[in-house]
């Protein structure tokens, strides 16, 4: 199993950055829900400032958004937001692009360069970089302004689906990078028909209709 250099960097950092890691009760650390761990970690971290990059906590009402823009993208002392991710490292095969990155990129500068041209697969990879982090903050802000969800207490009868981030680099026709697009997607494959949803439908036009409309457009101008 090859883990990316970002992951390795994060693994080594907590020893110097936060002794609080050890204080996390083991039972709260589950592979599927690293998010529950992140929050207390962040609060602790914000009180003890890390030496390299200053951690500014911005409170968007109920969300804790660590601002990374002031932090060099891959400084050796990782911000505390990252220090929780060793727990997060699941044995997952990275994409070939990331695989190449882990073998080729040795110095920090090449890592930064690489981050701007490849799409990360996992949250722990992407969160290292300011562009992706800012994109995620923007996306969360957009979801909040749309009132996409409200927080409710968990009840055992609920079928809670997971979510993950999807990272895409949008390019212009000439190959230059247009923007870093981030989307939060729900992992809908655990939903059950009849319980979580009743009907599905996708608006897909029939091929014959497209051809017919084109023909009418051509013939009737």
């Amino acid at each position: 199993m090859i883990s990316s250099p970002h992951g390795l960097g994060a693994l080594s950092s907590p020893s110097s950055a936060s002794p609080t890691l050890a204080s996390i009760p083991a039972d709260s650390v589950s592979a599927d829900s690293p998010s529950y761990v992140d929050s207390p970690m962040l609060e602790v971290a914000s009180s003890s400032s890390s030496p390299a990059g200053l951690q500014l906590m911005v409170d968007l009402s109920s969300y804790q958004l660590p601002q990374v823009s002031s932090v060099p993208p891959s400084s050796p002392a990782s911000p505390p937001a990252r220090s929780s991710h060793p727990i997060n490292l699941r044995p997952r095969q990275p994409k070939t692009a990331n695989l190449a990155a882990s073998t080729v990129a040795t110095s920090t500068s090449t890592q930064v360069l690489h981050s701007l041209s490849s799409e990360p697969f996992a949250f722990s990879d992407a969160d290292q970089y300011a562009v992706w982090h800012n994109a995620m903050c923007d996306e969360i802000a957009a979801l909040r302004s749309n009132c996409t969800w409200s927080l409710v207490l968990f009840h055992s009868s609920m079928n809670v689906v997971g979510s993950r981030w999807v990272y895409r680099i949008k390019c212009r026709v000439d190959g230059s990078i247009e923007r870093y697009k981030v989307r939060l997607v729900a992992r809908g494959f655990t939903q059950q028909e009849g319980i979580d949803y009743s009907e599905t439908f996708s608006p897909v036009i029939k091929q014959a209709t497209v051809r017919l409309v084109f023909f009418i457009v051509v013939s009737g101008n």
């Binding site: 829900s33 969300y63 927080l151 209709t209 023909f215 009737g220």
Partner: protein, 385 residues
Amino acid sequence: MKQPPDFVASSLPSHVCRLHKSLYGLKQAPKAWYTHLSDFFLSIGFRASKVDTSLFILSDGTNIFYLLVYVDDILLTGSNSAMLHHLIQLLSSEFKLRDLGVVHYFLGIEVQSTGMGLMLRQHKYILDILTRAGMTSCKPVDTPVSPSKVILLPDHSFSDPTRFHQIMGALQYLTFTRPDICFAVNRVCQFIHAPTNSHWAAVKHILCYLKGTTSYGFHITRGSSFALHGFTDAEWAGSIDDRKSTGGYLVFFGQTPISWKSGKQRTVARSSTEAEYKALADGTAEVIWLQYLLTDLQVPSVSAPTIWCDNLGATYLSANPIFHARTKHVEVDYHFVRDRVAKKEIQICFVPSRDQLADVFTKPLPVASFTAFRFKLRVDPPPSA
């Protein structure tokens, strides 16, 4: 939903998100999107087509506008450019959208204007498929299916079924602009559940054919005739495995092919007439659907559509209640077609096999006749080349 990683509300870490709106990835997300979209279109005066739910029509007596939806790709066209502009503004007030101007790329299909009309092609898509299959430097062949090769021999199963599925999926989408490979693709798709090496060889044959015809596109030319006519054909007991027949149809509107299909019939036919009759019923259903669509699009149909069939027995059957003893078991198809003929909604005529354009959807053909058929299917290289 669980709270997204690293964006957990600090005060309520063990809460979960109750979604008020759909997120990408949920099973109900596409339907929610469609409902939202169609509600808006209906509110600004469009009406949904009854036969294709992704088509919306706006008509105010003199002008008419069509709106095609493919999830989040929208194509809007109309007869009045000022009002068209107004509609785009209306849409952008509700949705965040990019106006791509005059269409030259829709659903991965390149739309080019030629002197005579439009050419639709998937040039880049073909190159992508060839790259994905590692076939960029293969030797081109003249037809997508070799008439001499049989692909159904018992064989070792293909080592990488996922790759097989991916290529086949891509080829199926390619039939959007390439009716010439429709039969070849459908024939291999029948084995998609358990591909063998000989099936993969057949796929490679299709790719070699595409290699030689990457720049070819589907031509839509300005037509003077606005009549529907269709061709139906069947290859009786063409499948060696189960002796089911292969049926196909091709429907023209004026001089342009609009709809086509090639496929193995669901039941075994006991005579060639029966197989032809089933194909005829499928073709009739398609022609009727297209008629409804034309009514929705407010294009007046001039006369009852004609369906050409190269089996005399089948044409007689559609007109007269004869031979009933031998066709008892195809009763549904039989009544379906005969009803339409009796009401003069369609007419069925005989066409000699050499002029039967649906032939190319039912059997492998030698090079000369395949090329002739391809020309009639309006699949040609771009005019300048």
